[in-house]
């Protein structure tokens, strides 16, 4: 399983990388390599040019600025996993990382790579959607922002022009005492999620749900914000019955089908995981659980 031949480029700056993307035909960006390298090995991808981003300056890093978390595209998943900043400000992401692949894949895999690969089951993509993230894109004309909801164009296809690349993700933070939970169902530890549920809750002073976010991964080409459930939750007092009703919104969703998991099973899992995630998020919001 050896890749077909390609020309190899290792730019040192974003500008160089963008210039290469503009100039070269049939080029692909190499980030962590955990998804692209197997595709090259199996010859299902055969770019003429490989543009390695691993030597580009300034594409990694985790910074916080006025309630917004910014993570550089080439930040390794292991750095995110271990980041005290993220654990404190955005624990949903930290929790999701415990399900992402294995030690070895997180050492090389990047957040930008995961976002651009857009595997329907990718945990980081689901989390980005749950958090209403913004993707920073660099191109020959400069930088632009893309809302995460607009980022998946189709199955494993990001809304990027051929000469554009992702440079960072910005995440607006939820208030300090928010409840969160990332749950997934996978066959083995570290496997891609068959279905995942990411949820965030904020309770008001009366204990009612002031804000809710519920996102499903693994059900379609893009993560699915279950807005009907979110609407049903806001303003209500949290109870197991409420969460069951919110989770039931998942039963009517469109879901993917594959030999391992038919659509009806994914829908079922979506409802179960949503309910369990909401219960956990609530327990965290009230301080009853860690």
């Amino acid at each position: 399983m050896k890749p077909a031949g390609f020309a190899y480029h290792d730019p040192q700056t974003v500008a160089e990388a963008v210039a290469l993307l503009g100039r070269l035909e049939n080029a692909r960006l190499l980030a962590g390599g955990q998804s692209l390298m197997p595709m090259l090995a199996m010859r299902v991808a055969f770019p003429d040019h490989l543009i390695d981003l691993n030597r580009v300056e300034g594409l990694d890093g985790i910074t916080m600025d006025q309630g917004v978390l910014r993570v550089g595209a080439m930040t390794r998943q292991r750095s995110i996993e271990r980041s005290a900043t993220i654990r404190e400000a955005c624990p949903l992401m930290t929790e999701a990382l415990t399900h992402v692949g294995h030690l070895q894949t997180r050492n090389r895999g990047t957040i930008g790579g995961s976002l651009c690969h857009l595997d329907p089951s990718a945990e980081l993509v689901t989390v980005a959607a749950a958090l209403d993230a913004t993707i920073e894109v660099a191109g020959p004309e400069g930088q632009r922002d893309v809302a995460i909801a607009d980022f998946p164009l189709g199955f494993m296809t990001p809304a990027l022009a051929p000469e554009e690349m992702v440079v960072a993700i910005r995440i607006p933070l939820w208030p300090r005492e928010h409840g969160y939970s990332f749950m997934e169902f996978a066959r083995r530890h570290g496997d891609y999620a068959i279905v995942s549920a990411a949820t965030l809750l904020v309770l008001d002073s009366a204990g009612r749900i002031a804000r809710a976010s519920l996102t499903l991964g693994g059900v379609g080409a893009a993560p699915l914000r279950v807005t009907t459930a979110e609407t049903a939750l806001v303003g209500e007092a949290p109870t197991p019955a409420l969460f069951r009703a919110a989770a039931a919104c998942c039963e009517g969703i469109e879901a993917m089908e594959d030999p391992q998991a038919p659509a009806w099973y994914r829908r079922r899992l979506a409802a179960v995981l949503s309910r369990r995630a909401l219960e956990r998020a609530w327990a965290r919001a009230t301080g009853e659980a860690a």
């Binding site: 390599g33 955990q34 090995a41």
Partner: protein, 162 residues
Amino acid sequence: MSETRCVALTVNGEHREAETPVRQHLADFLRGTLGLTGTHVGCEHGVCGACTVLVDGHAVRACLMLAVQAAGHEVTTVEGLSLADGTLHPLQQAFCDHHGLQCGFCTPGMLITLVEFLAEHPAPSEEEVRVAISGNVCRCTGYDSIVAAALAAARALRGDAA
């Protein structure tokens, strides 16, 4: 396109330099070009973990890195674990003591993964060890003896009595 590049890097503490086709992965480079056949290739799609090496102290799947990407970095393979006089690394010794290897094919990758893991988690629980090696597939042992070896090695590295 048969482009090649010269790669200079440190392998097991030694400076090495060699020409490589740019599409050759790091595992093939270590094995074929540098003759370090201790790192094994099991799947070439990043699942089995047999090819795990340390790059700058971090366990990575060598089949998912290009050799050219390792230029200027420090790579550690299983051959670099024991001392120059042949003394085994405590993990290697523990594997032998606990029958943590049978055919030996997954073993180098297991050892390397555990080297990083134990460096960062010197007193792991059994469950934590299992999670740490969940990206290394073994078809021979059923893992029990590997976990026992890892826990014993952790004790030895901490200086505890066995």
